[in-house]
Amino acid sequence: MCSPVQRTVFHLDMDAFFVSVEELFDPSLRGKAVVVGGRPNERGVCAAASYEARKFGVHSAMPLRTAYKLCPHAIFVDGHPERYREYSGKVFKILRNFTPQVEMASIDEAYLEMTGTERLHGPPLLAAHHLSRAIKSGTQLNCSIGIASSRLVAKVASDQAKPHGILWVMSGQESRFLAPLEVRKIPGIGRVMEENLHALGIRYVGDLARLQPEFLEEKFGQWGLAMAGKAQGLDAGGWFDEAIGSHEDPKSISHEHTYSEDTKDGQQLEATLARLSEMVGRRLREHQLHAQTVQLKLRYSDFSTITRAHTLPTRTQLDNDIFEQVRTLFRKNWDSHRTVRLLGVHVSSMDENEGQLGLLDDEKHRKWKDALTTADRLRDKFGENAVSLASGMRARYRERTHENPASLPGKSKKTED
């Protein structure tokens, strides 16, 4: 009998990814407070902030206007999703050369299953060192790497290692490593859960680890149980359960747009829906899925929000089918006297198989499919605005900088070369 193989997981996280990529294109940004995401007077949020800007309290997902108040001297730059995609792709290729089991968790972070690679790459720290150097020489970008026996601890470790560091949490040391950290550091514990835990006098992971799982379950249900496991450094609950590189199909796909100025211009609104439908269709094709239910989300200026859904007779992955349906829902439900703040297109009831085939529009359907597949390839190469439905032209707003874009390498089912 041999003892069970010790699992080794790397979590690699690019340091200030969006900002670092911008610095490559404009070296004058280096060492300065930089905010990526848009102009300081625009509606919208920071996609990323440089370490210098973070010193002033700026962080990603913060409204741009707030960031400006905190750090008025920061340089605000527009995001360039196509650049980030390109660099994310470079990172992915390097990782894939390193080990076959790679999962991009978002555009700038990845998990690597490194169990049993010692004979190839040497001990974990050395392997991580080589990987970090390979990333640097291949992209000129810095990354941080966490090494542990679970995805969870590896992720927390890479965060602690930042910037440009490597941290190995040896097996058996997980609880000791996590104990002094604030509960917020555990992935999956957000602001709301943090407040709940604080209310119970739980501030550090160590406090959490000392509690009976039953107590947490009683307080927070399944999540409580998962947290109890996480506090011990286990991959418990949610997305941490799967093997690295295994794909679970999404249950739904959606895209939303918030106007920088609220509008009741029907044409503009429908153009936005066309654009959003395209983005949703693209994600569907990327995942090789077909959806049957289409939902419209509509938020008026006063924040009152409606959602309306319709189930199609057959599944689709075509932009025009989604758009036609969502436009019908919009025309039926929009009160045209009221200005709109946000629109969203959401699809669900998805399946890999197309299901029922059409009798009447077979030819048309095939043509659309071919056209859209070509369009996708153009977008992969030239960015999301390269091609669009004519009705969506008016809504060619700047592509938002997004941590989970449609064409994330290593996430989609398409095999990468």
Partner: protein, 372 residues
């Protein structure tokens, strides 16, 4: 207005008109019958604006006139009255008095002027269609009409009248039912294409099943279709728009055939479909030299298989179908043998009754496969 009618006569006509009375109460007058008395006759009219039905029964008219009466209430009440004569009398303020034996009721109606005017049956261009033919054609196509509002031209069946034939076609975009009857005589038409809305088809079906009339008189103007069956006239708003070019999708090169007893395949599919994915009803048909294997599987309920012996000589093939689509046809085909004609797993299959049965009718059903 003041009349006397027999309960039997009145109830028969009230029953026939129930399908046309508006159920929703958004426009109150549409949930009323219009009663008009003249010439020893009581005329009863109901409409939901899409459909209108006008019928009549014999009555002793003491005083001619008209009134409106809440339809559902009247129907429920008349059903409960003992057999015998019922007298109906319009009172002031649109009240209506209904007496029968010792029963005495006053109902609140609405002003007669509120009742929408129904189009009048044209005097020219009337075509006579045998009631039995129309009844068969409706029964064999109505289930394939789409209920999906987004493609409204599919919300009806296409009726094509030629000098010597009548054809009816219905499709929902996934399957298509097509039936043709030759050796008919419609001398005054050349090639008359009419879209009959699903609601009108359903109502016609009901009327045809409760009549002894042999002939349906059909006519149309720019906006309305008219069907006269015995003493009843059904009017329907016309569906405008282009019915898809169905001839283009009729399969021409299906080269894989198998013939089975309708009953056998129908019960096999019903059994197997119990274990199909609930939402899609997907099943697989496998054709090889052993015959037909029907199978299904779903993550929730398990899997199932049924085999039917049959002669099949072509290359083996496996095709997915929505079980309901197949069952719809097999139910409409009413017994005998059916012939399945396929090409491959992506192309339309054709089903039709084999041999006799309704030999005068040429009936076929086209159904697209599912990818499962």
């Amino acid at each position: 207005m003041e009349i006397t009618v027999s309960k039997f006569d009145l109830l028969k006509e009230l029953t026939a008109t129930q399908g046309v009375v508006e159920r929703k109460t958004t426009i109150p007058i549409l949930s009323h019958f219009l009663f008009e008395a003249a010439d020893d006759k009581l005329s009863i009219t109901a409409t939901d604006l899409d459909l209108g039905l006008r019928t009549s029964c014999p009555a002793k008219v003491k005083k001619e006139g008209a009134c409106t009466i809440p339809a559902r209430k009247l129907y429920d009440y008349v059903k409960l009255l003992p057999d015998g004569d019922i007298s109906i009398k319009a009172l002031e303020n649109h009240w209506v008095n209904i007496r029968s034996g010792r029963s005495n009721t006053k109902m609140v109606g609405m002003a007669r002027s509120n009742f929408p005017a129904l189009p009048v049956f044209p005097t020219a261009g009337v075509i006579k269609i045998p009631a039995a033919v129309l009844r068969t054609m409706i029964a064999k196509t109505i289930f394939a009409i789409s209920s999906e509002e987004s493609r409204y031209t599919l919300n009806g069946a296409l009726m094509v009248l030629k000098p010597e034939s009548i054809t009816m076609v219905a499709t929902d975009g996934h399957r298509l039912a097509h039936i043709e009857k030759a050796h008919e005589a419609f001398p005054d038409v050349s090639d008359m294409r009419t879209l009959v809305p699903k609601k009108a088809m359903a109502e016609l079906n009901t009327l045809l099943n409760s009549t002894e009339a042999d002939v349906v008189e059909f006519a149309k103007d720019e906006s309305t279709l008219f069907f006269r069956i015995g003493g009843r006239v059904l009017t329907s708003r016309q569906l405008t728009g282009q019915f898809p070019n169905f001839e283009a999708v009729l399969p021409r090169d299906n080269n894989k055939f198998v013939t089975v007893r309708c009953e056998d395949i129908s019960s096999a599919i019903q059994r197997v479909a119990q274990f199909a994915d609930e939402r899609s009803g997907a099943i697989k048909l496998k054709l090889d030299k052993g015959g037909i294997t029907v199978s299904s599987s779903s993550a929730e309920t398990g899997e199932s298989e049924d085999q039917i012996e049959a002669t099949y000589a072509a290359d083996p093939v496996v095709i997915g179908f929505n079980s309901q689509y197949l069952l719809d046809f097999l139910k409409a085909a009413t017994g005998g043998e059916v012939r399945f004609e396929f090409k491959d797993a992506q192309s339309a299959g054709q089903l039709r009754p084999e041999g006799n049965g309704d030999a005068e009718f040429k009936y076929r059903y086209i159904v697209m496969p599912m990818r499962i």
